[in-house]
């Protein structure tokens, strides 16, 4: 089994049509090509994985010295993003090996991990789906959180209580996303529905159930 995932970049959304004529909401991703940068082994690193880079133009000038050395060791030009994928120890994968979209096919289920869009400082209604109160009819209680605990006992707010605060801009994985089609020639991956993150953000696509494989 080769590497079971790929690094991709979100392009945008569109519609495609099924045989029954139904419109399928679809996200288009530029997936790969990727190249193996480093093989991590249990003996040396304590776990078995491969580090993979997403092949895109990145000038050497913009690569840090330590990373330049890292890429030089692998004998490949620097890439902008690198991510790791778990692989079994026995797998013979070496730096320089290519990974491309053809590892997926239409109908496959994938997990996609990305960084969600930042929502800023959000109140409890948006952040935790609190119901809020009536807007009118003299309600005087609109989008406030309400009671946050008892009084003299325990004289404090319980840790972990849901409150207003920063929302979004965190790592989100959406599982069981269906692959609609692939275009190996143009390195495009089309999946059904939405994918975490904004357009042009990088995401990691795993075959379903392989995210923790080898752990």
């Amino acid at each position: 089994m080769p590497v079971q995932g790929i690094i991709a970049k979100k392009v945008g959304m569109t519609q495609v049509y099924g045989k029954d004529g139904r419109a399928i909401p679809a996200t288009v991703l530029t997936a790969g090509p990727c190249v193996v940068v480093e093989r991590k082994t249990t003996a040396k690193h304590g776990y078995s994985a491969v580090q993979v880079g997403f092949v895109e133009d990145k000038r050497v000038k913009h690569t840090t010295k330590p990373m330049q050395g890292h890429f030089k060791k692998a004998g490949i030009p620097p890439t902008r993003v690198t991510r790791e994928f778990r692989v079994p120890e026995a797998e013979a994968i070496n730096p320089g090996d290519k990974v491309n979209v053809s590892l997926f096919g239409p109908g496959d289920k994938v997990s996609i991990t990305g960084t969600s869009k930042g929502k800023g400082f959000a109140g409890v209604v948006k952040r935790h789906h609190f119901a809020g109160g009536d807007g009118t009819h003299g309600s005087m209680f609109h989008r406030a959180p309400g009671g946050i605990g008892a009084s003299a006992f325990p004289s404090r707010v319980i840790k972990g209580l849901r409150a207003a605060g920063h929302m979004g801009d965190e790592t989100v994985t959406t599982r069981n996303i269906q692959v609609v089609e692939i275009d190996a020639e143009n390195n495009l991956l089309v999946v059904k529905g939405a994918v975490p993150g904004s357009i042009s953000s990088y995401v990691v696509v795993h075959k379903a159930g392989t995210r923790r494989a080898g752990k």
Partner: protein, 146 residues
């Protein structure tokens, strides 16, 4: 060509030069009919075989185009008709394979991109002025498209 266009290039919307808001159109929709249960039981073996090819027929929806939205593969039209005194609107994506073809019957003079005001009109007030000067070029193109 960007990546989205690459994906959409295989999807061909049924574009027609006369397909504008204010046109009267006949939309040929493919409808799948499921076989009745008893019928199915009688020919279970055969039904299984034919499951993928249920009976398909063409249904026609004729009405006024009250709006067009979207571009490329996402383009769709809203068609309105009055059926037994009840206004009915259907939205057809122009790229879906279940729309067999779209015939443009008439064009009308309208001054809006979206004709939502017709929802409040009926009878005499609903009349629109027809446009009759249509170049022949458009027609041949339409036939090629369908």
């Amino acid at each position: 060509m960007n990546a989205i266009e690459t994906i959409e290039k295989n999807i061909n919307p049924k574009i027609h030069p006369d397909l504008r808001t204010g046109s009267t159109v006949r939309v040929h929709v493919k409808v799948r009919e499921s076989v009745l249960k008893e019928e199915q039981k009688a020919k279970t073996a055969k039904a299984k075989k034919d499951k993928d090819q249920e009976r398909e027929r063409i249904q026609i929806f004729e009405g006024l185009v009250v709006g067009i939205r979207g571009t490329g593969a996402k383009r769709s039209i809203t068609v309105r008709k009055v059926s037994f005194g009840e206004g009915v609107e259907r939205i057809f994506p122009l790229s879906t394979p279940s729309v067999d073809k779209i015939e443009v019957l008439k064009r009308h003079h309208v001054r809006r991109a979206k004709l939502y005001f017709v929802r409040d009109l009926k009878g005499k007030a609903l009349r629109l002025k027809e446009l009759r000067d249509k170049p022949a070029k458009a027609k041949s193109k339409a036939e090629a498209a369908s």
